[in-house]
Symmetry: C2
């Protein structure tokens, strides 16, 4: 039974994330996770109520329990004592639960996860409110006229609980994921979702998105300059201007600015760039997809475009077939799927109402909860059908989204929010990038770049500026073509950061492979690795990158940085200095000093940086052991971009270095090529 318990209350709705995206209680991968004694939840103690408003679940919890999750929450990392109303919104400004990617899943510090299978704006109260009769006798209340109510009243009185309030539904299915620890519960949820993402190798390189008004000659010039300056870059992104009309989208090349699309794609691919195209989901009247999708659209328009109902296989197939034939097969590597969230509360609201109706029978509220994932699925399929992997960006996701190779981003651009996003996303099967744009200062640019290279998608998003920010970070001057006087110095700083990213590709690739096969998030909050240390629960400004690295971002203006290091011991990645765990330290962070720590006992593969990943790239590795204890790591070797790995064309390379022995390297698997050459083994102590 894989330690996932499904509980059904009342009559659940027909359309839920599980109904559309599956929910694999019997995934073979689940067998690798630890055993659990019994359902960690007091299932008998759960109170279910149907109301005029929908239904509620009240789940008794213990005094000491803490709660994490609910998707991308940019204003809080520890949900204990808080309420979250999970409403899809691209412009959240407070800690309400409004989010690009709310997810009705949470994990408890007691070591279990709870997923509520709903496509509604559910509210979660994490022991934030108190029922009657905590002190004093239970009050006399209206006479219950059925046993359910009597039971409910006696169960609830004064107990600490999680309240889940689900609108509209007359019932719901609840999935409980055993741990025994939080990380295992999250892994179980991710495997239930279908497993995490294995991006193509090139997806882990550097990304650059160009100015939205750039034309073909502009982007070619920029691409050439990137190569001339030896700035590592694997992916070059085109913003809305590539289309004849965006807002809403035609998905057709604008041949005025881009007279030879195939030539342009060929140029990029020949220069080792993968091309990523911006689009959103709303279909313009001038799109070839408009007429075909008309019967499958909702009753409201957005930016005068159709809102296609991609929960209908016929509609999704139209989208997939067009994208495969016209874009993917011609050399596009991936997409940036914008504005699948919606923003109702700004100066000019856009998106469809929650009361919209869709041909499948979905209403607007449900569609908002599902749209991002439906969109990712239809888009990914254009690659799957050709046997290729993709990696891209998306502005909305939801439940069960772990298997989709898209990384969340936002226009909000508050750096503290962005780092919180890095901390929380991994609790709920999400990936997030704090992408870098123009900046107010050199320091801000560098600090943001430091963070983005320690994210799932290391993207410079220059869509608002015509020139790369390392030439000029100021938006106005960038537009005016006024470059920094000492731009070579800043370019050098940025290049070294990009190279740092490139040197970690083998390490990150293995971490993502673990995400795919075991559900372990490659980027994650400290409580997942240090569940017994209550001091890490509220840390909102540092996070794990894989199993060995702890990244402590420094914020602009922070001349000194204080941080807590959990666990046993750590080494400064750059200086090799050793720190005992379980303590807080403060560092002088002048001169843009970065703080990156390697867990004691790690064996870290550090690659000679390449400028971009070629099909035949062989990474030259330095295997660095931190401390003298037995250390091991995995490397994943395959073609890095096709789906052949699913059929066994992949090697797992186990590198071990035991104290007092020579390092050993064991390879197993069915991939015939070679991706890694180990140059040396060294020990830091």
């Amino acid at each position: 039974m894989n330690y996932i318990w499904k509980l059904t209350f009342g009559t659940p709705e027909n359309t839920t994330p599980c109904s559309l995206f599956g929910g694999q209680m019997d995934s073979p991968a689940l067998a690798s996770l630890p055993q659990v004694e019994e359902n960690p939840l007091d299932a008998e103690g759960i109170v279910f109520r149907r109301t005029a408003r929908g239904c509620t679940l009240t789940i008794p919890v213990e005094e000491s329990e803490a709660f994490f999750g609910t998707g991308l929450q940019l204003k809080s990392v520890n949900q204990t004592g808080l309420k979250k109303h999970l409403r899809v919104n691209s412009d959240p400004v407070a800690d309400t639960g409004d989010s690009h990617a709310p997810v009705p899943f949470y994990v408890s510090s007691r070591g279990y996860g709870v997923y509520v299978d709903t496509a509604r704006y559910a509210s979660f109260y994490f022991a934030s409110h108190t029922t009657q009769a905590l002190s004093g006798p239970s009050p006399a209340r209206k006479v219950a006229d059925n046993t359910e109510e009597l039971y409910a009243a006696s169960q609830l009185s004064g107990k600490r609980h999680v309240l889940i309030d689900i609108p509209a539904a007359t019932g719901v299915e609840l999935y409980v994921f055993g741990g025994p620890d939080m990380l295992s519960a999250v892994q179980r949820y991710n495997l239930f979702s279908g497993g995490g993402v294995l991006p193509p190798l090139w997806g882990l390189g550097m990304w650059y998105r160009s100015y939205t008004r750039a034309k073909a000659e502009d982007v070619q010039r920029q691409a050439a300059m990137i190569r001339e300056d030896h700035m590592p870059c694997d992916v070059f992104g085109l913003e809305p201007g590539w289309q004849t009309h965006a807002y809403s989208c035609t998905y057709r090349w604008n041949t005025e600015g881009f007279p030879d699309p195939q030539g342009l794609l060929d140029f990029f691919n020949a220069a080792g760039f993968r091309v990523n195209l911006w689009e959103h989901i709303f279909v313009d009247g001038d799109s070839p997809l408009y007429e075909p999708l008309l019967p499958y659209a909702g009753d409201y328009r957005v930016w005068n475009g159709l809102v296609p109902d991609y929960s209908l296989p016929q509609a999704a197939k139209l989208y997939t077939a067009y994208h495969k034939a016209e874009l993917v097969d011609r050399g596009v590597s991936g997409f940036k799927l914008d504005e699948c969230d919606g923003s109702d509360f700004i100066h000019t609201p856009w998106t469809f109402p929650e009361a919209s109706e869709f041909p499948s029978g979905l209403d607007g509220e449900q569609m908002h909860c599902l749209l991002g994932t439906l969109y990712m699925r239809a888009n990914q399929e254009a690659f799957e059908e050709g046997g290729r992997r993709t990696y891209g960006a998306v502005r909305s996701a939801g439940a069960l989204a772990a298997p989709y190779p898209y990384v969340l981003y936002s226009d909000l651009y508050d750096i503290h929010d962005y780092i919180r996003g890095m901390v929380v996303a991994g609790y709920s099967g999400l990936l997030w990038t704090p992408e870098v744009r123009q900046c107010a200062s050199e320091e801000e640019l560098i600090r943001r770049l430091q963070a983005v290279v320690f994210s799932p998608l290391a993207q410079i998003d220059a869509w608002m500026i015509p020139n790369p920010p390392w030439l000029q970070y100021d938006e106005g001057k960038n537009h005016a073509g006024v470059f920094l006087e000492d731009r070579e110095r800043l370019t050098g700083i940025c290049r070294r950061l990009f190279e740092l990213r490139m040197s970690l590709i083998p390490y990150l690739y293995a971490a993502f492979y673990a995400y795919k096969t075991t559900g372990k998030p490659p980027f994650r909050a400290l409580p997942l690795d240090f569940p017994d240390d209550v001091q890490v629960r509220d840390i909102e400004d540092s996070y794990m990158v894989g199993d060995s690295l702890l990244f402590v971002p420094v914020f602009p203006g922070q001349e000194r940085r204080k941080a807590y290091l959990p666990g046993d011991g750590w080494y400064d990645y750059f200086t090799g200095e050793h720190y005992a765990g379980g303590q807080s330290y403060e560092w002088d962070t002048a001169d843009n000093r970065m703080l990156l720590f390697v867990r004691e006992g790690s064996l870290l593969p550090i690659a000679e940086p390449v400028e971009f990943v070629r099909p035949d790239t062989v990474f030259s590795l330095r295997m660095v052991r931190f401390g003298h204890a037995d250390a091991a790591c995995s490397l994943i070797e395959d073609d890095g971009e096709s789906l052949a790995y699913r059929e066994g064309a992949l090697n797992r390379i186990a590198v071990e270095w035991k104290e007092g022995a020579e390092p050993s390297v064991r390879k197993e698997g069915g991939y015939a090529g070679q991706r890694y050459a180990i140059r040396e083994f060294v020990t830091i102590d």
Copy 2:
């Protein structure tokens, strides 16, 4: 039929604002309003849908229509093109519809009002979203299996509309209020609600709330100082410290700090102060009301206190009887009813969940929509039963709240939000005060005071500072007892502002009497008075005070102030300078210059300021005519504090001054006393 149309869709909920607070379609006062030709709404064109989520109404509107209302909205004044989700929330931070006092009522520039009788968090889309088929043919959609759906689809296609999305309900009643202009529609809504508020005369004087930790000797010392310094003050407010326990409330005097409550009340009343007491609605275990209210409380606690269900007459009677006997009859003049809103999305959320259950059958969402008004009603009743008027403050209100003598306020303290509150409140039967607290600068204190004296309740709320802000506006220094060196100068400036307020009491009293009897809001946005001038629709920083005054607040840091003056002509209240209407002007606002304009053709009663209103106060009036046209005004004369006016003990004094004739004064009514002595008539031109 009074030009109010009631439309019923589906099966409305049992509990709505109308079910609890009435809704007087046959109020005799309605007869005084202008006639209307026909229902201004295309009632046949309204599409009603029931959905799993609740129900929706789609109301066709014209291209040019603009929409105002939805209660207290601190982030926008013109709702056209926006969506508002009317959720009760004491900490709104964006223009979402979250509000202390959302009201499901709006007025259209076409001259009608629409009230949706619901106690749900309804969403209103004011022509903000576009249905399918605005351009191009109507798409093929799922085959409708009933005529309602077919009809709905054809009706909606491409039309501009207001969409109202009501959760949980299977039906709703809609009330349409004829105009023919917006102001008449608002008046009709207010009279339908029961008419506006007539405060006691003293309520229109100055208010001072003291430090929350002040004890009896502190407040007595402050009160004495206020009188010594001749700072006008009618009402002295005590904050939570008067109770043995607040958060939650005992409603019992804390005899440690206040050893002789009756003596204290007598002291204040003898010194001409009315005493106002802070409280909130949550009943502490140590309150005499706890045990009696236990059977009438909801299933959740707030601050460990009961949430009483005052929709039950038995519960409300317990509250009323206690307050009357223990507080009102002993000399308390009114209350500040705090925290009847709720805040779910802050660091420590408080309030009951929307899924709460109450003994009456109300759920938490409904109770949130009704709580403020239920609380006001129970509180007011403690005065009504003794034949007295009250005037107080409240943190939440909702639909049909116009008759309750309480003024909304907030802790948010952004001065632009506060002025927006002054602009919008009058659209929806609400009163609002931008109360003044500590400030960052002398200029801020003065600018805020200028605005608060042109509000329904001119309150200095010093609950966070132990000394009056005119001695020290800085919070830290105020606590340290460090007063301004030139405090006499600032005290003098403040005194003159207070005196300005006192001089307008007769004018304001007449405006409130019109609110009571004709529903005309005493403070209102310019579109209500100038409905044909599209330039005033988005003005969020000036408003009418009665029929004659246009107040243009100047914000801290504004060295010059630009403003548009609508209508025909205006006079600067202070300089007498004349301005043609229909133009924008810019003024030098150095030296805290105020901008207050008197409408050309007004006859304004300006009183010699008193320090406070006594039962026998006779206001010495200067009647000032602005311009030479025929001018008239009303004065309302009664005892100013009892309910005897309802039985006819009130005089209407009609003052007329026709061009080329002597002024005339005609008095009619059954009040035997005298409240006004006209000292002189003067003309400004």
